[in-house]
Symmetry: D2
Subunit: 309 residues, 4 copies
């Protein structure tokens, strides 16, 4: 990466955090997963996001993850780190640590405990961007943070120095369409889609990429979809979309309550030997019945997964 | 229309109901608006929906509207009528009246007062479809009905005889994408998008058309968008999308609280001489300040509107 | 009732509507239920509310119910009729009919289809109150109407001539406490609590009564609770509260999805011979398994129900 | 405090955290506020809760607060510490630190980032209670944690060793009433109300106390209310309730957007010389206009506040 801010676009998977126990990072699996993802042709890697269970991990483990990822990524793709926290100075500490460890940009969602107003929100992002030694990608995920970044706030924040992009996990395409209208779909301020089910349409209407969790398991599929959508190959998009939605059905929607995206991905990854499905508290691995169902579904899906031994 | 169910697709605008006073249908304006919309090249016309303020109108006015629309449409395009009501027998009466007045299909959302469960919901639709003399298009609009048609219910209902299509106004593209996955995007069970801001992407990923309220004002724009999306002309889609989103901004989002889609459309229509902006109770026309702003915004938008005198 | 507005307070049950089939009012059961409720010592009777499934009934059946209730009540207690509708003129027609049939006051919630703003809401109530030949009790039930009556709107509306009281089914005690603060708990503008589970505390902090659905089944229990709360007899309140909450558990919360209040009450009433459990569309009677469980629970509850043959 | 679990009841204010800058605990003000609150006759003190802005503070500042509070409280009242965190081991570390510093019980809400299911929730609480060296008071605050403790989960958790009480900030009196029904209102498992506006009714129907934020400013008022409600003195309750609701109006509801409870309390405290109104990120002190309005409102309220110099 050059000294200037990276030009981000394409598929930047939010990496799961392989664990072998409470606060125990599984180094071997982490290396394997990173290589697996990069091997799928992705355009970047994002660690310590929601999918990485970052808020559940102590700062020490977060730093350990950054260290290890730096070494394994080794500059092959842009390296992004989530620094979202309810404590401003903990976010800043992690951003500074990232700056010293080869990270290209940090990803920052609103603090997620106390509900607060847009005035406080914009001020928070402006102040953090000014203090942060790395470029900042904003992250909107109201399902987790409660506070959404309003369109008005987004418009203001797009012009703030050191804020270089936006990831939206609201699953609200009216909102996303308006973000695209604001940026004109230009590459200068890239817009990323959170939910992989919306990757296709978000790119077709002018979005710049996706932070697809399923790319932990089968990265090449999402890269293919991104390429098809950028090329405007609608027929190919339709075919791939069926496969992406089936993954959501078969791996994230198993049982009642549904297995969920986070547990589903990690469970499927454990079945193909990428890592164990140990979850950080307060989550726990799926019960055996759902695990077994996911195994059967995984076989049925016939996904092109090759795991290096 | 032949005896068999019509093949629906494309732009089927939800027509506003021109009123000259409480419970007073404005016949002259109604005729003008219908001709204006059909003149824009649309693929059908839908009266007495949410945009038509149907739940606010007495049954007598609803029938008067059907009578008039039948004469003015005169078979030029498929004719759809909303029969949603909290009272089953009132819905059925309206459906029977429709069958006698040249209507091609009825549109039916869930009863919208008491919250209830999916079991009651599917049973309701199955029973109504069996008793209804016309084909039924299901209508999902949880913002108004509270009860959403779940994906499981939708899957069941797609196979029910006499249920021939689905309009979704949930604005939830995850949901819509799953509907497309269920139907395979086939024309045999067409899927229509409610919010016009999502028309482009819904058609790009395999949807069959849109029930665009803005088409009351400028029908040709939405027809163009539909054509571009069907053709997979992504560049043209991007250009038109900017214009469609600007309409929403400039006409529906004026002031605080925002003017809203329903009042905004009718207000803009009044400015170009299509009808007055009288609203049915409990709504009221916008205050002068917002009306004037919408007038200015309308000029700024430079929409291709030609109103026949 | 005198010519002047009635002084309302105490327990005014929202009567269920006994039906023998679609749009078929069961006259014999209606008479039995009215006498049963009045026999329990209640302070009024409210027909054609949410509990009365009014929005599901055609206008003709609503009028039939008013006719019959007028005869059976025969002036023994204040007689209230719900006239809530999405169609203004239908509400007004029903209010006028009520005025000619011995009704003391009408109950009016916001129109419940299109979401709208407080400005339209207050204007709606002000206009209706001016045209309505009977005093109006406002009804706040956002779970059904979506639009809530804001505290600011409530404050304005309390001073409108012909608006004489307020029923709140928001289940939000912060809101209710603020209503009491506004009225000073004075009898001049009575405040009624919807959910029976909150009757006790609402009266203890200064409310004026309750519209308790469980009073269809066991009216004397709620009258006792009202009396205990008015007397400030906290010990007695605690005892009765346990019984009221057990009714909710045992009759409304059976199974998954739970039986629900409306079906639960009607089912229990059918078991004691008050009426059948036929529901108006889109609702349907509970499945046998839940019906049987409610029967067993009802025996376990040992409620003091005497049904006149 | 004896070795055994403390018997908690009455008013246990959630103390604000006096700050002089980012991560700077204001020791002098902290001492003054603690003495002020205890001087008002409260039954306990709860630091590092939501009101204490705990999630915004680094662990070091949290420990500093515990140290200081231990010294100032000096065993005069039960001492509770909030240990809620998204990171299990950070919660546990804080609980262990608390055990070494005179704390009587910890307060624990669900981890507040990732949404999760009740199975994970109950398992989380069970495991934490087993590892925690201090008794645990559960804390339900869905507005902040998104995940609510369901009634079923509450029922299970009440029987878990080392879980000794429950604070509910759901503001849902149906829920709270059911908690009381479960415990029988017995002192053995005390139930505390979060929002001070609901203190009166919660105690009248059998609750055991309140965690009233306004008690930072005027502790004696809430103690009086608690006493009146315990005594069943309904007339006195009504009088005090008007005052408590006026505080909420005049201090928490100033301007648009409203000042809010947290900023309102700290602002009012700054006006009477208890501490500054510095807020932890992402919050910021109110703008001058609202500050001034709160000053005027505070004078109007004529609260019995005596601040020791």
């Amino acid at each position: 990466m050059a000294d200037s801010a990276p030009v981000l676009k394409g598929i930047i998977p939010p990496m799961i955090t392989p664990l072998s126990g409470r606060d125990q990072l599984d180094h071997e699996s982490t290396e394997r997963v990173i290589n697996h993802i990069i091997g799928g042709g992705v355009h970047g890697l994002f660690v310590l996001g929601s999918t990485g269970e970052a808020p559940s991990l102590p700062l020490a483990v977060q730093k350990e993850m950054i260290d290890l990822a730096e070494k394994v990524i080794a500059g092959r793709v842009p390296f992004l780190v989530g620094v979202t926290d309810t404590c401003y100075s903990r976010s800043l500490e992690l951003a500074r640590y990232s700056a010293d460890h080869g990270v290209d940009a940090v990803v920052l969602a609103p603090p997620y405990y106390t509900p607060f107003h847009q005035d406080d929100l914009t001020r928070y992002f402006v102040e953090f961007a000014a203090e942060c030694p790395l470029p900042v990608v904003l992250y909107n995920i109201p399902s987790h943070c409660k506070v959404a970044i309003s369109l008005d706030s987004a418009r203001q924040l797009m012009d703030v120095p050191n804020i270089i992009g936006f990831k939206d996990s609201s699953a609200d395409m009216m909102y996303y369409g308006n973000l695209i209208k604001m940026t004109g779909g230009r590459d200068g301020f890239p817009l990323f889609m959170g939910p992989e089910q919306l990757l296709a349409e978000s790119v077709l209407i002018g979005g710049n990429g996706g932070v697809c969790g399923g790319a932990n398991l089968v990265p090449s599929l999402y890269v293919e979809m991104y390429d098809a959508a950028v090329a405007g190959d609608v027929r190919q998009v339709h075919l791939l979309q069926q496969r992406i939605l089936r993954i959501a059905d078969k791996l994230y929607g198993v049982g009642d309550p549904p297995s969920g995206y986070l547990k589903g991905v990690k469970c499927a990854m454990s079945h193909v030997g990428l890592c164990t499905d140990h979850m950080a508290d307060p989550l726990h691995r799926l019960p055996d019945e759902k695990r077994d169902q996911i195994k059967r579904n995984l076989e049925e899906l016939e996904l092109p997964i090759e795991v290096a031994s």
